[in-house]
């Protein structure tokens, strides 16, 4: 038989290669200390960029400028890995699993899952030694949201997280229909406004979705109107939540709040106030606005001045009015949490680098804006703009749209036209907004992952239709029935149990 040797050699090869695999998992971490005589530690640093990804030589020049600061300060050099939003999760996974190396990166609303994967090291004690300034800046309330099972796994980005739902509207039309925006106090006041728009401009769509399948009503639930804490669930697929100060976890879709919202959406839909295809549209909200086809949309913004940028982008006179006040919960705080990876060979230096991202304005400005003169020019102490004849897509390096992602938003330069008072408002509201009583509690869903996968699919089936009005609210009982058979009660119970345990440790 000459079949055997072929098989055998094949098996042999597999064995050799499996050895190769094991070489990829990191060995013992060397006890790295940063006495100045040692060679600088190399920190691989990944972050999300909504701008064009820069080319290698542009990155290298920025890295060089950052190193000029980091080598004397923390004896480390930095490798930048900006990834676009479609690549980020995938590339971080590859860098971590392949052993190529990644030291510092951030979560994308998935902190508990990443902790369950053992991706981040415990920095509970290290933070006092290597990032004390950041600890003081971010504060215990926010740090608690990155604490699971009593261990601190990261530092939430310090940015305008206190977002309020706003009606973003065409000021000229608002005036035309004779409505004083100051009289709009809640979402329920909008029906009348839309009716007037529809009467005067039958071709115009009063309300368009801010994203496909979201006309902004779910966003509103974060508001003081209902004070909902999603307890770690995604805003678009909330499952088990807290409402107000009641510490009983409830199935979100059985609540009156959800019914009210769905009924409102249905009313708007039937009266023609909402884009019919809101659940599936392929057009972008800004296109609707700039084409003059839409009157308004609802979205959550921090501060009150975002409309200046939107006006510039759409070429229309845009203003906005708050529909409710911000309401902070763990979910809104820890969505972007910076951590040190478990495969890092220099965890101390990595944490010191995170500290710089929160406290050193030169480092953060380099990461966000690149090299002065080439990538941006200063207007005054606080404001910058692109060099003459250049824009975001033509400068060699910029990550300007990541301004709310990397470290500390409040010490960066701002783009031309940003009102510093608005920035101050953002920071003020960050510290003084209403907070969920479960602030700091972070749910670990790994015990109910099967139920989650089934429940999330059911939610995807019904919620976009229900909350944009295209599905009849009479479907709600079927929806609830399906959620039940998908196991939603188990999720509610698991959450309640973890919450109770957490509460007992908080006293």
């Amino acid at each position: 038989m000459n079949k055997k040797p072929a098989w055998l050699s094949f098996v042999g090869l597999l064995v050799i290669v499996s050895l190769l695999f094991s070489a990829c998992s990191p060995g013992q971490k060397p006890p790295a200390s940063s006495s100045p005589t040692e060679a600088p530690a190399e920190i691989h640093f990944a972050f999300l960029s909504f701008n064009k990804i820069p080319e290698t030589d542009a990155l290298a020049s920025v890295e060089e400028a950052i190193n000029a600061i980091t080598v004397p300060k923390i004896n480390a050099t930095v490798k930048l890995h900006p990834f676009s939003v479609t690549d980020y999760a995938q590339q971080v996974t590859l860098l971590l699993q392949s052993g190529e190396g990644l030291d510092v990166y951030h979560t994308l609303g998935d902190l508990p899952q990443r902790v369950a994967n053992n991706e981040f090291i415990d920095i509970s004690t290290m933070i006092d030694q290597y990032a004390p300034e950041t600890k003081a800046l971010v504060g215990d309330d926010f740090l608690k949201t990155a604490t699971l099972h009593g261990k601190l796994y990261g530092i939430p980005a310090y940015k305008g997280m206190a977002m309020a739902p706003q009606l973003v509207y065409r000021a000229d039309i608002m005036e035309e229909i004779g409505v004083d925006p100051a009289t709009i106090k809640s979402v329920y006041d909008l029906t009348e406004v839309f009716a007037k728009v529809k009467a005067k401009y039958p071709d115009m769509i009063p309300l368009v979705p801010v994203q496909t399948g979201n006309i902004g009503l779910i966003t509103l639930l974060m508001s003081t109107q209902y004070k909902v804490d999603f307890l770690g669930d995604s805003y678009f697929t909330p499952v088990a939540v807290l409402i107000g100060d009641d510490m009983h976890v409830v199935n979100f879709y059985e609540t009156q709040a959800f019914r009210d919202i769905v009924n409102l959406a249905r009313e708007w839909y039937e009266k023609g106030y909402v884009l019919k295809d809101a659940a599936t549209t392929t057009s972008n909200v800004l296109e609707f606005m700039s084409a003059g086809k839409a009157f308004a949309y609802i979205a959550a913004y921090a501060g009150n001045q975002a409309y200046t940028q939107i006006s510039a982008q759409t070429g229309q006179p845009i203003r906005m009015v708050r529909l409710a006040q911000p309401y902070l919960s763990s979910t809104s705080v820890n969505a972007l949490t910076w951590g040190v990876s478990t495969i890092s060979k220099h965890p101390e230096a990595a944490l010191k680098f995170i500290n710089l991202l929160f406290t050193d304005k030169d480092v953060i400005n380099l990461v966000i804006y690149g090299i002065e003169g080439r990538d941006y020019v200063k207007i005054d102490e606080y404001h910058v703009k692109y060099p003459e004849g250049k824009d975001a897509s033509t400068v060699p390096y910029t990550a300007q749209l990541s301004c709310g992602i990397v470290g500390n938003q409040f010490i960066q330069y701002q783009m031309e036209g940003t009102d510093m008072d608005d920035l101050k408002l953002m920071e003020y509201e960050l510290k003084h907004s209403a907070m969920s009583p479960a602030m700091g509690f972070t749910f670990d869903g790994s015990s109910v992952v099967n139920e989650y996968s089934a429940v999330v699919n059911v939610i995807n089936e019904y919620v976009p239709g229900l909350t944009t009005g295209s599905m009849d609210p009479a479907e709600i009982p079927n929806f609830l029935e399906k959620l039940k058979s998908a196991g939603i009660e188990k999720i509610v119970a698991a959450k309640q149990q973890q919450l109770d345990e957490w509460l007992s440790t908080q006293k």
């Binding site: 000459n2 909504f50 479609t86 690549d87 996974t93 977002m163 972008n284």
Partner: protein, 299 residues
């Protein structure tokens, strides 16, 4: 060459022309729509939707592209290089493997055929492949990362060629050559390959299309934009838009409204991806048809 056609055959020929032509129109009309939308104004696209008769025209999308001219040209260059080198290499090693598999007297035939087929059913996911190509072969951010992984040889193509070798090339031909003392390489290169032009043209076409369309390799192995191929450039933009339109983005970064390339630009992107093929195809097609006809005559 002129053959006398029976009435029946003439009728069939007419029916064929009708059917093939009709299908061509159906297949092609969406492309006309794409092209028209790419020169429609945003205002028209939003208020009237995608239409064969837009309200107003605008070349904005192409002016936007023109501003990116250098980037697009470079991406064309990368795609072209990758497609040519990849397809050429594939056309060498694929029939080389297919030939032994087609030989009934090759004892490892059954095992090897199974091994080839098995690759079509199972894969270990991206992480092990990534480790293989980046850690062992150091391909990350090199042009070879766009050529070597996944597409260089495909089990499907191997089996297609094997099938063709078995069915369309008479066994006596090989036996006669063996009696004449020809070695396996000579039989392969002087008999099998020249007689298999139709199937080689087919797998060459498939491999070429796969390379031209590929963006997955770029997604995994290329982070330097100077090595982006054209599809990668386009898909990145389209997927970023699709992601930002979806709720997934908002749950992370809030309802940050980012100015996305408008719909006409998305359509212009599609045109730019197809355009070179539209230009090159009739030229290639000549050889392709020729290949098939030559194959038919010799067969």
């Amino acid at each position: 060459m002129e053959r006398l056609l029976s009435k029946d055959e003439k009728r069939f020929k007419k029916a064929s022309i009708l059917f093939v032509g009709l299908f061509a129109v159906i297949v092609f009309s969406p492309f006309v729509l794409i092209a028209i939308c790419s020169i429609s104004s945003t205002e028209s696209l939003i208020s009237k939707g995608y239409s064969f008769f837009p309200k107003s025209l605008s070349l904005d999308a192409y002016l936007y592209m023109w501003a990116q001219g250098k980037v697009i040209l470079r991406a064309y260059g990368v795609s072209l290089f990758v497609t040519i080198v990849g397809t050429a290499t594939s056309l060498v090693i694929t029939p080389m493997l297919a030939y032994p598999l087609s030989r009934k007297d090759f004892r490892l035939r059954g095992l090897f055929t199974f091994l080839v087929f098995f690759t079509l059913l199972f894969n270990g996911g991206v992480v092990p492949s990534y480790i293989m190509w980046t850690r062992v072969f150091s391909l990350k951010n090199t042009i070879w990362a766009l050529i070597l992984p996944t597409y260089l040889m495909n089990g499907f193509n191997v089996l297609l060629v094997k099938n063709y070798f078995e069915r369309s090339i008479p066994r006596d031909l090989i036996e006669a050559a063996q009696i004449d003392g020809a070695n396996e390489w000579t039989i392969f290169s002087k008999i099998m390959v020249p007689l298999s032009v139709p199937v080689l043209a087919t797998i060459g076409l498939f491999t070429g299309l796969a390379y031209w369309n590929d963006w997955i390799n770029g997604l995994y192995y290329i982070s330097d934009p100077s090595l982006y191929g054209i599809q990668q450039l386009l898909i990145r933009i389209l997927n970023n838009i699709a992601f930002l339109r979806s709720g997934a983005a908002a749950s992370v970064v809030g309802n940050m409204v980012i100015s996305l390339p408008g719909e006409s630009i998305r359509m212009a992107l599609a045109v730019i991806g197809i355009l070179p093929i539209l230009i090159v195809f009739p030229l290639l097609q000549k050889y392709f048809i020729k290949g098939i006809v030559i194959g038919a005559i010799k067969g």
